[in-house]
Symmetry: C2
Subunit: 240 residues, 2 copies
DNA sequence: ATTACTCTCTGATAATTATCATAGCAGGTT
DNA sequence: AACCTGCTATGATAATTATCAGAGAGTAAT
């Protein structure tokens, strides 16, 4: 991680060992023995980031293994012409390091909190040691990587084949159905960031949202979105 | 794999054990002991496919582990409206199963030979057994998955941020620099397939290639392409 | 209070890309 | 031969999307 003046809790360390109830044990560490888990729990460092704070910076050496405990982050990459492209979003209990950790020594993307976020951090060599000694754990990691990249590739194909309206519908349904699981939610990102995700201009994102509002498919109150006609939105996402 | 009347060599099995010089030993099976490798070599089945033949069909149950020994394939996915989207291309010594094998029980994409292709096939449970018993091998697989998905995601972002001309330039440079490593080559895919890869219409692919020809950036003889001005092509790929 | 931001929003216009129509050509089939 | 079919190719036109310009609202800093 880059030295960042906005980063907080740098030295707070393991302030609250809540591993006891952490779902990671069942998901990711299912094949790690319980005494080793206690060890992992002691070694982990928990950190919090406010909305907008940088968690990982593109180019950072990969020395840590970061997983989402709470919140929401965006994975993004700077283009040659100084803009940003958003690759995907991650939520608990994704491992935001997984995309690069076994193919590179440096992060190829940045990770930024788009909601108040808590992550847990393990030293990479610790995780690597466990993986090298415990093939079942390594297999679980593989499954995790696969699921993560699978979703990224799938969404990328979906977005690619759709027109502007379909892409916006896709994004709204993504947050509504996949992230928040309700029809009314606060968009965690700006119109510009939506544009960076789906590869369109900010103006057209705004225009399309306005159009959906005029057509009474959604209601907009700033960042608050209410999906009023999900059936129509799904139809637009599929075929529009 | 689906029963396919075009598939050949179904029952040929291990007709030519050329494992002895296979590069896979150094790349993928580096941490598998040599006596186990002999076992793997005995269990593997080699199969050949002509250009156009289906190797894996979307929806097939994943029971085998397929790697590229020779040739070139496309990974593609059918869209809801009956078209195809090309995800990526794979060459020796990629593992074309890797994209799904640890995240799903069924293939989510099809694999089709776009050149005369030879693959080697291992039963998935054999590979899984080795991985479960040999964490270093599992780690090597992880690295392989990561590199493969990394490249897919990277290319997808590059294509997404470019305009039509830049995308065509990207594809030409992909085949020239990454696949064939020469300036003159035979395009292994049709204009329509290029369109399916970069998310444009066939007509515009053809038009853009014609434009490059008129601008003397490339020469075209049917499927044969000669890159005459690579510098300009690279410039278009980056900024056009 | 003023300045300087960024974000949201809208309209007018330009550029890009898709669609539709047409045609030549090659390969395969009957 | 005549008839498909798929691929390549080009032009005209329509649709989509980007760019440019401007404006209000909010927020932070001076």
């Amino acid at each position: 991680m880059r030295v960042n003046e906005t980063r907080v809790n740098r030295a707070m360390g393991n302030t609250s060992c809540t591993c006891e109830y952490c779902q990671l044990k069942n998901i990711f560490f299912a094949h790690v023995k319980s005494d080793e888990l206690t060890n992992i729990c002691d070694l982990k460092v928990e950190r919090s980031f406010s909305k907008g704070e940088s968690i990982i910076q593109e180019g950072d050496p990969i020395t840590e293994f970061v997983y989402m405990k709470k919140g929401l982050v965006k994975l993004s990459k700077a283009t040659i012409d100084g803009k940003d492209q958003i690759i995907s979003f991650s939520k608990p209990f994704d491992f935001v390091s997984l995309l690069s950790v076994f193919s590179s020594t440096q992060y190829k993307y940045s990770v930024t909190a788009i909601e108040q976020t808590t992550v847990c951090i393990l030293q990479l060599d610790v995780v690597r040691k466990y993986a090298e000694e415990n093939a079942l754990f390594a297999m679980d990691m593989m499954s995790n990587i696969s699921q993560m990249t699978d979703k990224i590739i799938h969404d990328s194909l979906e977005i690619k084949r759709k027109h502007l309206k379909g892409r916006i519908a896709h994004v709204l349904l993504y947050f509504s159905d996949y992230i928040y699981k309700k029809d009314e939610f606060e968009l965690p990102i700006s119109r510009r960031e939506i544009a960076e995700y789906i590869g369109m201009t900010t103006e057209n994102v705004i225009r399309t949202l306005s159009e959906f509002r005029k057509d009474e498919i959604i209601k907009i109150f700033g960042k608050d979105i209410l999906i009023a006609d999900k059936k129509r939105l799904k139809n637009i996402s599929e075929f529009g």
